[in-house]
Amino acid sequence: MAKKLIDISHISKSYGDNLVLDDLNLFINENRFLTLLGPSGCGKTTLLRILGGFETPDAGNIIFDGVDITNLAPNKRQLNTVFQKYALFTHMTIAENIAFGLKIKGKSKAYINDKIKYALKLVNLDGYENRMADQLSGGQQQRIAIARAIVNEPKVLLLDEPLGALDLKLRQDMQYELIRLKNELGITFVYVTHDQEEALTMSDTIVVMNQGYIQQIGSPEQIYNEPENAFVADFIGESNILPATMVEDKLVKILGVNFPCVDTGFGRNKPVDAVIRPEDIDLVKPGEGLLDGVVTHLIFKGVHYEMEVTANNYEWLVHSTDFFPVGTEVGIKVDPFDIQIMKKPESEDEEAIPIEE
């Protein structure tokens, strides 16, 4: 059983009339890679800044390792932050940057030098001690920013979209680097991003946020395969979200056609949303599937073809490695466990219900 390290309870924050976080509750376990994922303006960065101490919540409190740190100044907190724009001290050398926090703590010269060497090795930048910060590339700078934070041996490292400014290839390399680092250090990472792929790749736990509310908390697999609402389904990967009716347990009527599924407990003849991932749709010969349609659009994507199939007046998004030219009549088949049923929100507001873990 993992130990609870941070307990965030009933946090609210607004800027003027703009409510950014509304009664948010979340706890973070020790030694986790937790990602706050959501579109910009969802409140994820504000939550991170509240954790770092750069913002004070209007209500609620934060318990860190059993102590209330809600009103503690940032320099008194046992966590360190890696900022989006690196925020290196450009007038100092790399070594001085890394030593910054240790000097304040009054560590010995020998200790500091050891730590600098260790940290630079950890981020694969040995021998960079005497360079100036602005002589390094973006990726190198970000690694120095991480090194500067981790030499202080924080219990939690907060990372605010640290890879946002890097190009694609570098970003992917850094993702693996971060996973490796987290495993070597054995500390908790709280990572903020709007990039769902990044979140899926690195996290142990993903917290999907929208409009100040948590939409879903779960492992990457849970979030991807079993989105709890249309927002999560739409935000994580591509999907077909269809209005449907739950006829009975394990049977859902989509576009007038009955689909066998595995979900139960929604009641009889209740309106629901059904999510079907485009790669979970099998295209078969006309008549062999549950419904028939015509391929109306075709794009080659490398790994697969992306197609649009019009069936029962709906444009189904389909990913398939098989090639069906435009105009081909096809049958659509979906395995029961590939259909994810979600409760239909009854109003706009309810779409963003706060969900507790």
């Binding site: 770092g52 101490g53 750069f54 100044a73 940032p74 320099n75 360190n80 932050t81 900022f83 989006q84 724009k85 690196y86 925020a87 290196l88 001290f89 450009t90 007038h91 050398t93 910054f100 926090g101 304040i104 703590k105 005497n130 360079r131 100036m132 602005d134 002589q135 920013a145 500067r148 934070a149 202080n152």
Partner: protein, 633 residues
């Protein structure tokens, strides 16, 4: 080819026009000849005599200390303000920027006058608050702050705002984080703000002029007051030095940021020795030097002005109207420090005394101005128990003073004289005894008139047989017509130049004050002075004590000192204006001067003369308007 030639010539022409005046000034500062029109060879003597002048060196020190202090303080305030403004949201920041920029665009004279008014208003709450070093410093800090903000804000915008948070995050306290992380980033901006403020302060005249008090001069106000008396070549040297200093500072300000970035490129590999030395220089040596200059200078300055902390008397007198040795003697004898200020005309003195920005202890206005000050309740009664030497003042002068000081309670006569005609014996062929000669067509273009309303009208009114204090509109109209008639004959309407032009035989006749006549005669024996038979103006300049004087007893001691016969004689020798001190007159060794009818006209001549009286605002305006009509036709 031709086009580029023309372009270059055009550029050259522009540069020539821009820099010709300054080049002229610089060239003249090295001219060993005193006259502007003649090159007497290269010389540094004006620079040498400049540095020997204690007043100017004092002004230089005041200028530097004010520039340094105001730049330092405004850099502190401005930087803090810039940081605060940067933290505001966009809308407020833009508004704040606009508000702080306005004082920069505001005319200096408006800033100066409003600061003066503010300081005067402060006196209502703190009566001991007086104009001087502190007010100038406050004023300079005020107008410097926007320049600092303007140069710090862009640097703040450039810095990554997360570096400050990163420092906090790493355990730094807010203050440590600011000085370790934010400050190095904005340092170039702070530096150029400081230099800009320093330059602006060094450069300023107008605002200083309005906010300074008695005895406190910066270089610019010093140059101004010196130039009013006549331009000395030392001033060319001083202006040249000032120009070179400001130019140098501006070059530093404008090139500093570039140097900074180019340095960075040079110091790619590890911090080089140079940057370490520069670092040490900035962190240790520069502050140490600043402290040294301020503290050391403060002691020096304090020593220079040690007396100012004790007894003092603030004197406001006409330019060149006292023997400087007399001031030294008084200070030595009494231990009272004399803070000495000069004015040029009664009209420029009046508003300064009335505003009360500086509390003068002793002022030396002319008769009609004393009347006006009395009418406006600006003068204090003099305690004559403190002035036993009054007995040396001739009774007839006290009688005369009753015209403006009816009970002889407010004034002590200092100098007096008449207005008359100075003529060149070799250039006129008849004896001169009447104003009528100034209307004689024979002397067309040989006549110099005083460029002053009261003097010009006084002559015309007297010639017509009226009083020179006439308030009869018909009389004034007649006088005006007479002056219009005279105008084509007049070579020039001038003030001080009458003296020089008459000495150099440039004119045959000139209207002049008797005191000047004695001096011109000693320079050119062909000159003769006469008080026309129709009568003229007799004037008295007397010492008065303003109501708001802080050192009334010291002022009375000073008057008493000036009334001492030997002292009055020294002043007479120096300024050559008639002294009302009969005992002093008896001390004059040269019979020719002691019995000179110019210096001491006989009673029958004097009985024909009148003093000016203050005619009130309405007639002030009428006279001025009539005079304007004459001059503009």
């Amino acid at each position: 080819m031709i086009k580029s030639m023309i372009q270059k010539m055009y550029l050259g022409l522009i540069l020539l026009l821009l820099y010709a005046p300054i080049v002229t000034l610089i060239v003249l500062s090295f001219n060993s000849s005193k006259t502007r029109s003649k090159w007497g060879g290269f010389s540094l003597k004006w620079y040498a005599s400049l540095f020997e002048n204690a007043d100017i060196m004092n002004a230089l020190y005041t200028t530097l200390i004010i520039a340094l202090l105001s730049a330092l303080i405004s850099t502190l305030i401005g930087t803090a303000a810039a940081i605060g403004m940067q933290a505001l949201n966009n809308k407020f920041r833009t508004t704040m920027m606009a508000i702080t920029n306005i004082p920069m665009l505001n005319a200096d004279i408006v800033t100066g006058i409003s600061l003066m008014l503010l300081f005067i208003a402060c006196r209502a709450f703190y009566p001991s608050f007086s104009f001087g070093f502190a007010t100038v410093l406050l004023a300079h800090i005020t107008f410097n702050i926007p320049y600092v903000i303007l140069s710090v804000i862009p640097k703040l915008k450039q810095t990554n705002k997360y570096t400050y948070e990163a420092a906090l995050d790493l355990g730094a306290s807010p203050i440590y984080a600011f000085f370790k992380v934010v400050f190095p980033d904005i340092f170039p901006g702070v530096c150029s703000g400081f230099l800009l403020a320093f330059t602006m302060s060094l450069d300023d005249f107008v605002i200083t002029h309005f906010t300074t008090g008695a005895g406190v001069h910066t270089l610019s106000t010093k140059i101004y007051s010196e130039v009013r008396k006549g331009i000395k070549p030392e001033m060319y040297a001083l202006s040249t030095l000032l120009f070179v200093t400001v130019l140098f500072l501006l070059i530093v300000v404008n090139t500093a940021p570039e140097q900074n970035t180019s340095n960075k490129k040079l110091v790619r590999k590890a911090p080089s020795k140079f940057s370490r030395i520069a670092n040490i220089a900035f962190r240790r040596v520069v502050p140490a030097l600043l402290v040294l200059v301020i503290v050391g200078g403060g002691f020096f300055y304090g020593a220079q002005n040690r007396a100012s902390a004790g007894e003092q008397v603030v004197v406001y007198n006409w330019g060149e109207y006292i023997d400087p040795k007399v001031l030294d003697m008084f200070e030595e004898e009494t231990g009272i420090n004399v803070v000495y200020e000069e004015f040029e005309t009664n009209e420029s003195m009046y508003p300064k005394v009335q505003a009360g920005a500086v509390s003068y202890d002793l002022v030396c206005p002319s008769d009609y101005m004393i009347q006006r000050m009395l009418e406006n309740n600006l003068l204090a009664e003099i305690n004559f128990d403190n002035i036993p030497n009054l007995k040396y003042i001739g009774q007839q002068y006290l009688e005369q003073s009753k015209a403006f000081d009816p009970e002889n309670k407010y004034s002590v006569p200092y100098c007096w004289g008449t207005v008359g005609i100075l003529y060149n014996k070799t250039m006129v062929d008849e004896p001169i005894d009447s104003w009528s000669v100034l209307w004689d067509e024979k002397y067309e273009d040989q006549i110099l008139m005083q460029n002053s309303v009261r003097d010009a009208f006084g002559i015309a009114l007297k010639y017509l047989g009226y009083s020179l204090n006439s308030t009869d509109l018909d009389e004034l109209q007649a006088a005006k017509e007479l002056l219009m008639e005279q105008k084509p004959l007049v070579q020039a309407y001038v003030v001080d130049q009458v003296r020089d032009k008459m000495i150099s035989n440039e004119a045959a006749l000139g209207v002049i004050y008797s005191g000047e006549a004695i001096y011109t005669q000693s320079e050119n024996p062909d000159l003769e002075y006469v008080i026309p038979k129709e009568g003229s103006n007799v004037w008295i300049d007397s010492w008065v004590i303003p109501k708001n004087a802080k050192n009334k007893e010291n002022a009375e001691a000073f008057i008493n000192f000036l009334c001492r016969p030997e002292i009055a004689k020294m002043n007479f020798d120096y300024i050559t204006y008639s002294t009302p001190n009969t005992a002093a007159r008896d001390l004059i060794e040269d019979d020719a001067i002691r019995d000179s009818t110019i210096a001491f006209p006989n009673d029958s001549e004097l009985s024909r003369c009148e003093t000016y009286q203050y005619l009130g605002t309405k007639f002030d305006e009428i006279y001025t308007e009539l005079w304007r009509e004459i001059k503009s036709k």
